[in-house]
Amino acid sequence: MTIALVVMCLGLYISNPDFLGQSNSINTLRQISMLGIFAIGIGFVIIAGGIDLSIGSVIGLTGVLIAKLSSSQLGGLGYPLWIGIPVALGVALLIGLGQGLLITRLKLQPFIVTLGGMLFLRGVSQTIAGGGTLSLGGSPLLALANGGLLKSGSDALIPYPLLMFLAVSGVAAYALHFTVFGRYVYAIGGNRDAAEYSGINVKRVETSTYVISAGLGGVAGVCYASYIGQMSQQVGIAYEMYAIAAAVLGGCSLRGGEGTVLGIIIGSAVMRVIDNGINMFQLPYEDADRIQRIWRLDPNWTFIIIGAVILVAVILDQIVHIVQAKRRIRHASAGAAEAASSLQAATAVSAAGPPAARAPDSESV
């Protein structure tokens, strides 16, 4: 996937050097950061073999709660942010806990629990916002998404969401790759029974992944509230799909047990660069009247491009993997195969098949 990302960025830069201009780079980094924060959250759940469809609604609800509690505008209660934000994040964590407990204690399917949660929480957002919009106008929260460190002109070179993303990535990478907890997450995703029989408190660890997911959804929700400046139940719709796509592009398998934080970061970047690229891509040309013109993507093609890029990226990625695996096997059998071909090349069983793994059809990406 890294290759795909580099190719995309290069292509976009060639087509439009503004792609790597200061302003667009900062914006894209901010977008990647906001997606990445909750994609990492959902990554924990996916690696442990679950799924969390409610994360988009959690993002929305966190923002709506903050707006409701801390906005000084019409409809807001006007409490200070240091009340609004912790309460909203607390609610997010409780949602994760509730869903996690339903899934682990009652042994319900994560898909349906978090689908129910997604709808329910969207309804809660809608009710809190009274079906309308809550404005955060004038709130100091707005500085979060828009400000940052190292001011240069009107831009902050390191937007705060990027800092938060780096912090989240660091902690997540540590937790997932260097702690006992992370080891358990992988073990549960790889073989739940084996984990259970090894004495791991599977339910607790699994529940934690939902708490982490919802918690990071909450953190992302704070960022989005700040970025959008006004909240309604519309915010966050379908975000779970972007997060899942980012995780899967980054190497997570929905069967569980696979994926890395770095991969998810790259997956998030791919998703956001596609989005940004659709707006940035351009081709200068000269029309029949010899006027210099710039060709841009028709907005109707947006989805075609997103879909096609995702498909092409996973297909290429897979082909690279298959070719590598084949080469490795060929290499291992090199001596034998040569001797065989010299022995009776004519009747030789054709050596085409890609016997990637031991299982006849293990899938990847």
Partner: protein, 312 residues
Amino acid sequence: NEKSEGTGAAPAEGGGAKPKIVKLAFVTNNASEFWKIAQAGVRKYEQESKVQVDVKMPSNGTTEEQNQILENLSSQGYDAIAVSAIAPADQVPVLNKVAEKSKLITFDSDAPASSRLLYIGTNNHEAGKALGAHIVKLLPDGGKMAVFVGTLSADNAKQRLQGIQDAIAGKNIEIVDKREDNTDRAKARSNVEDIINAHPDLKLVAGLWSYNGPAIAAAIEALGKKGKVLAAVFDEEEETLTAIENGTISATVVQKPFQFGYLASKWAHELSVKPDTAKAQIPANKSIDTGIDVIEKTNVATFKQQLAEMKK
């Protein structure tokens, strides 16, 4: 012979047949802040006349959902239904079916081909033209502009855009990009940022849907392009009005949703309880124009005050 419940202090009609409950419904095309203002109009009428008007909002804003709501209301025997049709041309069969059983009024978005009794609202094409005229004023030397919207396929978006295009025709103003966000508000903002970055010579951005105003204001401010990229939008979101006050957005064209709510409730009620007199009062063109306003820096303060009154 139904017993009236409660204590002895029963109202006069107690003991006789209960008065029939008038069932009235006000069906919007989605759930948004805009309709909260209309709802305020509905509530005001409810208080004045002591009837109940049920407000229905299709949460996803799809035709299918609205059709279902309409069929539902009609099968429950509603006396009158007011609706903002999502896809007027194609909902005619459903609307006509509803009109067979209930008094049907349209508001906000008309369905002239149906057998509705009356339309209350404004003309989105006219509203677009009004904004377009304002854009021409803002860009006397012409220039490039971009348009932002949820989905261009929505009727009101199409009509507003057409209005703008009609007004800027021949004025050397070019629409270089149109971007959809599919109601994702974060995308609404990042689209504006991207497009401003992709077109360094962009002069103006226009937002067709209500939340595009706040998204445009936030993007322009974050990019430090205030004054360099002008903005003209629709509807009266809070951030939009604030942005007009501080000059980030030049103007917004607003409808009068409160009037939609109030007038639609009133007509629905009257058509139900005294159909003959009410029908006689329907204007010949079967429509009541509630008009539009262009809000600029000069009149934004007054408008905000009025709005606050209405939303109370």
